[in-house]
Subunit: 458 residues, 2 copies
Amino acid sequence: MSLDAVLSRIDADLPKATERLMELLRIPSISTDPEYKENCNRAAEWLVADLQSLGIPAEKRPTPGHPMVVGHIDGDGPHILFYGHYDVQPVDPLELWDRDPFDPEIQDTDTGKVIRGRGASDDKGQLMTFVEACRAWKHENGSLPCKITFFFEGEEESGSPSLVPFMKEHADELKADLALICDTGLFGEGMPGIITMLRGLLGEELTITGPEKDLHSGMYGGIAMNPIRVLSKIIASLHDETGRCTVPGFYDGVPDLPEDMLNQWNNLGFDPKEFLGAVGLSEPAGEQSHTPLEMIWSRPTCEVNGIWGGYTGSGFKTVLPSKASAKISFRLVGQQDPFKIRESFRDYVQSMLPADCTVEFKGHGNSQASQMETDDPAFEAARVALSEEWPQPAAYIGCGGSIPIAGYFKTILGMDSMLIGFGKDDDQIHSPNEKYDLNSFHKGIRSWARVLDALTKA
Amino acid sequence: MSLDAVLSRIDADLPKATERLMELLRIPSISTDPEYKENCNRAAEWLVADLQSLGIPAEKRPTPGHPMVVGHIDGDGPHILFYGHYDVQPVDPLELWDRDPFDPEIQDTDTGKVIRGRGASDDKGQLMTFVEACRAWKHENGSLPCKITFFFEGEEESGSPSLVPFMKEHADELKADLALICDTGLFGEGMPGIITMLRGLLGEELTITGPEKDLHSGMYGGIAMNPIRVLSKIIASLHDETGRCTVPGFYDGVPDLPEDMLNQWNNLGFDPKEFLGAVGLSEPAGEQSHTPLEMIWSRPTCEVNGIWGGYTGSGFKTVLPSKASAKISFRLVGQQDPFKIRESFRDYVQSMLPADCTVEFKGHGNSQASQMETDDPAFEAARVALSEEWPQPAAYIGCGGSIPIAGYFKTILGMDSMLIGFGKDDDQIHSPNEKYDLNSFHKGIRSWARVLDALTKA
């Protein structure tokens, strides 16, 4: 076989590959909202059909939530599992989108062509880079380069409730030598990264109740407990003046970053002014005793993702509300235990409740942080292969986001994960006007062809 | 003429009077929501037709917002203006209503029959007590007891933006000897009150912007400013540990309550445990250095009426939001100046903003507090007349709500207001399942017949 022929085939097939991605992007597979359930199912069916068109016996596998897509193809060499997710984030606030989020198009921008639409980058576009690499390989060579298991889920953006049970039930079927995951970004312009450190995630929702019903703020204002004030005070108390989280025991299991890793990161040329400037900010607002890269890669966080209570419509309503709620998430690192932190957080909130208030909690998923073993020669082989495709050599980096699947692959299936992705900081994932650079899509497909080639030889 | 005949007529006509009120309640005249504009217009037209059926040449008068209803009928004796409002509060959260808020019905409860529906108490039911008293009077005597101006507005629940301009433009037409306002409550079971003290209101809305767009909390969490955290901290800072508002200069113009008034209030038999217990609370949560009645009648407040930001739907979204907003209202007393407090509040919020955050403000109406001159003999005549209708003698009381119209009548038209109403603490005005006791409606109509009779003789 010839890698060059595969790469040429990828170049020639790019317009059709892009059209296939557009088809998938047109399916509004928002997993967190029950109204979009059938659309998640349609996205899974689309992927099954696409894999089958490559001669891969794939099928939709039911779960209590959205279905999994699983396909196996036999081959020589190592057994690789490729993971991606076909579900996407909600699109609100819809009014900030320049177009229908589910009517994607190729747009010309100052920095080149982009594919605009929800899921273009996270994760449909990234998922399809691997599928298209396989398609080109199959076309040129008649078969795939090694034994591959395709494993796509549809609940990544809503806490993956079905993932662990499914993996446990089908552990024998899913176990491979190495997992490839495409749900991350380039480190910098023209510089890919292989992520070796991922933060975990703990999601919590709390609702504080004061009066048993909404009250008139004239009649009761001044004498009745206001749950919005109580909730605000609790949120204000979750961090101290230096930006540290005050939940008791929160930093148990948080390691200091090894000196050599800190030095390597300090030499990556990361410019916090540029990173923050791209979103209208200027100053790192996290723990003041740590560097900006530590803040987003190796330090834990506590953030409020949503808050609501009382009257939020247009105009004014002089209500003193019965309830106020917030969604709060914690990014976890090192050996932080999500279950212990959940318990400590709930106890801490309870301890701050004044008289006449009650609180209810709802959990929204949890996962520990992950750390990869980079002495596996496959890592260095992949890093060299990526470096051949891109202008800048690939680096081992951290990631602030939570990709719990990597942890599950390790703990449930006993395999390491290689996290390689081609997203960019300005892709606006989870935000209005999400996009994926056409260049990321194109070179992403080429990158996987090179990595597959390297892994079969490693 | 005979007052007894009028009262008998009222008793006999109660079923029909109730059916007329139900008709008005079926019109969803929510003034704060532009979607209900035509329904506000319909409510005004209904009232015009009803007044015309009494031989009163009434008409709908346009404003930039919802129309006024004005009608004049000549007569001997004093010139009275009666004020009420036909608009109602929004109905959310709709799921907490036991029935369609705009499909009212008479319900049997443990404490007697009630009229259930939005506006039953605030203010359609109360407004109609006066209209029905006039109807009975006209029926028995062929004319009304004195010269009366009817003045109904449709923007009371949304800050009355058109009221002051309209009153200024039509001051000569609207000026009377005394205003009667029916938009308040009984003081206690079977005990009416005449309100001599009303709190003012200042409404503010603020939106804090951090990042210029919503961010992924994994990618940016730990380094980017979170506007929900900033807003929570600001709200938490608006009160000190003793419950006092911390806005600089907030207490300028707040008088100490005179000793004799405090003594009178202490003898009213007000039970804070019962008042708070009715809404699931137990402890007065306001300024700890003041009595419960002071907290709701004579002390100013700062309350949060609504808060929102980030993802508030079902499930979870790991967003780090660009914006967070709150609606905040201040109840004002004595000589507190709403414009100075607005300025001080906005400066105070600005002073608490961290780097990379901006704030935008929106004003939602403002009014000073009001104090009535109770040495006018009409007050005592009305108090005695009310005492004849109800089991308990009527009292001069305070009111925590803001009825700015009373202040406008004084400053723009130079006339005092007599605030008499028949609502009850458990009417759930501004809340789900609003009701008006059928007894309040019936004895309210009878009360106005007695008061009109007394005023023509005072």
